[in-house]
């Protein structure tokens, strides 16, 4: 692949991020002016910071790859990732801020007054955090392997070690301005190449994304297969390929159809895989539920709301986040679509997650422009790996140090960071074959079936009891966790069980809600005595409070 600019770009981004975290803001914020020093962060900055932390490379690399592979079916991923903030805005943002809770376990303790429930919530926060860190490290490994030709473990190790060391030593500890900078960096890194790509597509005479007689190779291409697949050649023959096989295609030769991928124009353009029937519809609904309701359960997103001075600011922040994230997710879609034209070989190799980083060079050629833009995209992806991972790691480590180790000292936090960092790195080294988006989706599903019911019912229903909340989290979240474990470790399934396990949200979320409500009604006597005061605290407008 040999783009000599990529590695320097990645190193530069890493160094800049670390340096800003350690020194930049420390100097910039020292002042003798109280007005400057005690200026509350504006919703716009805060929203950019949330965006910076939330937009994980795993999600945008994965989204582009999925669109390349499956077509419009998976547009629900980017839509859901952005629309999750709508649910957050409507149901959670302002009351949660008014409650004064910093983390989800805090909210449990405040609303239901139960230490045991707090412990349960802590376990889930850690699990979701790790499950969400896993695809970040995995994505880093893949990206570095694709761009610099290094073995897969190197990228995962590099990001894991850099982030763990950085958080443990106190740099980049959730500094709002650093994270806000990361958002704009990511947006630039994806938007500028996207503009060039669109222009190139214009200049090439707007080739059709789905030509009626199938995609063709635009240049002579040699493909090294990485995943076992069955190819259907244009003349109707089938051929089974194994990892390591090399295939050569001449310019203009049609792309062979690959099993398990949306191939023909109609397949790619229309929702619902032909043949899967209701299962495809079920998976779609599952995905919508998971992404819409899972965002509110992500530990690193919720802690950011604490920075807002009051509930109204929290709501405004969420609105801006919705806009920022919405704009951003247009870009991976463009990459996925153009990838169909310029990098069809990825369909054969199975490395669709690499489409974003490979596309600039493939479309614009290996000239300076192409290489520069490729380096820019790689830098953006790395910025995303670093910012999301460190945000996640900070919140997981915070929860571990206060709730598991039980002390708030600096040393305790460092120890917790190392613990929180080692586990996902080890996991990432052992699972390399999964779609990163699938793992991201699973993290959302677990969050949606454990914390979403807890937050929504806790905020809007007086009748929720600690026993009900615990039962709902255990049953709903437990079912989602079991699905995750079966997906990651268990045997391959087919038919309905596969659909139910791969996209569990459509049954686990209603299950969690039902169990929570039913058990709460059965244990009505356990409702906290000061529920009226708590509800007033959550819902009274900010103006009434002072």
């Amino acid at each position: 692949m040999g783009n000599d600019l990529v590695v320097p770009a990645i190193v530069a981004v890493t160094l800049v991020t670390v340096a800003i975290g350690f020194y930049g803001l420390r100097l910039a914020r020292t002042t003798s002016d109280f007005l400057v020093a005690s200026r509350v962060i504006s919703p716009t900055w805060n929203a950019a910071a949330i965006g910076g932390e939330y937009l994980s490379a795993a999600s945008f690399l994965g989204v582009a790859g999925l669109i390349l592979k499956y077509g419009v079916d998976v547009l629900w991923y980017p839509v859901g990732f952005a629309a999750g903030y709508l649910a957050l805005l409507l149901f959670v943002a302002a009351p949660l801020r008014r409650s004064g809770a910093f983390t989800l376990p805090d909210f449990c303790e405040l609303r239901l007054g139960s230490r045991r429930l707090r412990t349960l919530a802590t376990i889930f926060v850690i699990f979701i955090g790790w499950l969400y860190l896993l695809p970040q490290l995995q994505g880093a490994g893949l990206t570095l392997a694709t761009l610099a030709g290094s073995p897969y473990p190197v990228g995962a190790l590099v990001v894991g070690v850099v982030v763990t060391a950085n958080v443990a030593l106190g740099g980049m500890r959730a500094v709002t301005f650093v994270q806000a900078f990361q958002y704009w960096l990511k947006l630039t890194a994806l938007a500028v190449p996207a503009i060039f790509l669109a222009l190139q597509w214009q200049a090439d005479g707007r080739p059709a994304v789905t030509p009626p007689d199938g995609s063709t190779f635009r240049t002579a291409t040699t493909v090294v297969v990485e995943q076992r697949a069955v190819l259907t050649l244009p003349d109707g023959q089938t051929r089974e390929v194994r990892p390591g096989d090399e295939l050569s295609f001449a310019e203009g030769e049609p792309v062979p159809e690959v099993s398990g991928v949306a191939n023909g124009a109609t397949d790619w353009l229309l929702p619902n895989d032909a043949g899967s029937g209701d299962r495809g519809l079920f998976a779609t609904y599952s995905l919508i539920l998971a992404t819409f309701l899972g965002t509110m359960g992500l530990p690193h997103v919720l802690v950011r709301f604490y920075t807002n001075p009051d509930g109204a600011a929290a709501r405004r922040t969420t609105l801006v986040v919705l806009a920022l994230v919405g704009v951003f997710y247009l870009l991976p879609t463009i990459y996925g679509v153009l990838g169909r034209i310029y990098t069809p070989q990825l369909l054969v190799t199975g490395q669709t997650d690499a489409v974003v980083v490979l596309l600039p060079e493939a479309a614009l050629g290996a000239g300076t422009t192409g290489r520069l833009l490729a380096a820019l995209v790689a830098a953006g992806a790395f910025a995303a790996f670093l910012s999301t991972s460190s945000g996640l790691l900070t919140s997981v480590a915070g929860v571990i140090s206060t709730d598991v180790l039980g002390r708030g000292s600096v040393r305790g936090f460092r120890l917790a960071t190392v613990i929180a960092g080692v586990v996902p790195v080890v996991l990432a080294l052992n699972v390399s074959g999964m779609d990163v988006s699938q793992v991201v989706g699973l993290a959302f599903a677990v969050a949606a079936s454990s914390f979403c019911p807890l937050l929504v019912l806790g905020i809007w229903w007086r009748g929720l009891t600690d026993a009900g909340a615990a039962a709902g989290i255990l049953v709903g979240g437990g079912a989602a966790v079991t699905s995750v474990l079966i997906t990651v470790l268990g045997p391959a399934l087919t038919g309905w069980p596969a659909a139910l396990i791969a996209q569990p949200a459509a049954w686990t979320v209603p299950l969690a809600f039902t169990v929570m409500i039913a058990v709460s009604l059965a244990t009505r006597r356990r409702a906290p005595a000061d529920i009226g005061r708590t509800m007033l605290r959550l819902h009274a407008p900010d103006a009434l409070r002072s």
């Binding site: 109280f34 020093a37 962060i41 500094v175 709002t176 604490y306 140090s401 936090f413 474990l485 470790l489």
Partner: protein
């Protein structure tokens, strides 16, 4: 694939081993042979008492008293059990609901006389044929303090046996001490609130005098500035004498410190330098009202008043995960750590007269005590100082603590 299968087998074997261990432990605990009957009796009594203690510690309100009455009835072994406060029945568990009125009068009598009594069938007449109530034992709930908080009534379906009377008396005594502990808790809270009020009253004397003199010096030379200073002073006192709320946010506390420093700058001019480093993420942190300002006041007094030349006061608030770390530092004369600890120890013994000059100790130890009483003993002040080395006071504030809320 092979790796996956072995991983699945590994997980399943781990889970089954765990389940087996849990089952074995359950069986062992369930087996009677392991504890002697005496040990089991002790365990059961103490366990039931423990269950009753928790609601009792919350005070004699209907919801908690109902929970406590259930366990107390098991403890006494009576057919029914009622708890009263000084005025009325607050909870009744088991039999005897239709004797409520008679029990209430008896309880009032017991509370007035502070002596327990046994009611026979004659005092518990009723017109129900199937009434099982034959007697009752009424004992006052007296704590160690001697004040009677209520009464405990045990209702029996036979003539009250001496064993029941004894058990009731002992249980009432024990429950009384738990209720007294509840009062102790609430009086500790009241004390903490009183301390906040005391601190409010305490800032003033030196500072008000100094501020007014400083403003006075500007009235002729720079009336505009004098006017601004008076307004700042008014705002400052409004915040400091605020009547409501035990907690405030770091942002508000900083705003008040700014006003304070504006007034002090009028007095010291360029001699007073302030350096700030505040992480904006921690501005919404909730902390006890007026727990930072006394530290700044101290720093100004130490850093400037007793030494020539300029003094630098730095205030730093850092974001540290689930906590916020605040330090206030001056480069003034400092003090001998031994004097400081001695001063604080002395204060703990005496009532502490805020008028005296060791006021600085009062400020520090007051803040220290309030932080500990709100957040727990791990969150006290840390003072680093030495003669001639300046003073650095640090505190840690958790971002969330149940029961702590701004503006309440």
């Amino acid at each position: 694939m092979g790796g996956n299968v072995s991983a699945v087998i590994g997980v399943f074997s781990l889970v089954s081993v765990l389940a087996g261990a849990l089952f074995a432990v359950g069986r062992l605990r369930g087996r009677r042979g392991i504890a002697t009957p005496g040990q089991r009796a002790t365990y059961e009594v103490l366990h039931t008492a423990g269950l009753a203690a928790e609601p009792l510690r919350a005070g004699l309100n209907p919801a908690d008293a109902a929970k406590a009455a259930r366990h107390l009835r098991t403890l006494v072994g009576a057919a029914g059990l009622a708890l009263t406060d000084t005025d009325d029945l607050v909870a009744l568990d088991g039999r005897g609901a239709h004797h409520r009125e008679q029990l209430r009068t008896a309880a009032r009598r017991v509370i007035a006389s502070e002596r327990s009594t046994v009611l026979g069938e004659a005092e518990l007449t009723c017109n129900r044929i199937d009434c099982p109530v034959r007697g009752a034992v009424v004992a006052p709930l007296g704590g160690a303090s001697g004040r009677i908080a209520g009464a405990l009534v045990a209702v029996t379906d036979g003539a009250p046996a001496p064993g029941l009377v004894q058990a009731t008396l002992e249980t009432a005594h024990w429950a009384g001490s738990q209720v007294a502990l509840a009062e102790l808790d609430s009086s500790r809270e009241r004390l903490a609130r009183a301390e906040v009020r005391a601190l409010r009253a305490q800032i003033s004397p030196h500072f008000i005098y100094n501020a007014l003199t400083a403003i006075g010096s500007f009235v002729r030379t720079d009336p505009e500035r004098a006017r601004e200073l008076i307004l700042e002073f008014a705002e400052f006192t409004r915040y400091s004498f605020r009547a409501h709320g035990e907690f405030t946010t770091l942002a508000e506390e900083l705003r008040s410190i700014d006003r304070y420093l504006t007034i002090e700058r009028a007095r010291f001019g360029d001699r007073l330098q302030v350096r700030l480093q505040i992480a904006p993420e921690v501005l919404p942190v909730t902390l006890p009202f007026l727990c930072l300002q006394p530290l700044v006041e101290n720093a100004v007094r130490h850093g400037l008043s007793r030494k020539p030349g300029t003094g630098i006061v730095s205030i730093e608030a850092r974001d540290a995960g689930a906590e916020c770390h605040i330090t206030v530092e001056d480069d003034g004369v400092g003090m001998d750590p031994a004097t400081l600890t001695a001063g604080i120890a002395e204060l703990a013994g005496s009532t502490g007269d805020p008028g005296d000059d060791p006021g600085q100790h009062v400020g520090l130890s007051n803040v220290d005590e309030r932080l500990r009483s709100v957040f727990g003993d791990g969150f006290g002040l840390v003072v680093e100082t030495g003669v001639g080395l300046g003073t650095k006071v640090s505190m840690r504030v958790p971002k969330f603590h149940p029961g702590v809320r701004a503006g309440s």
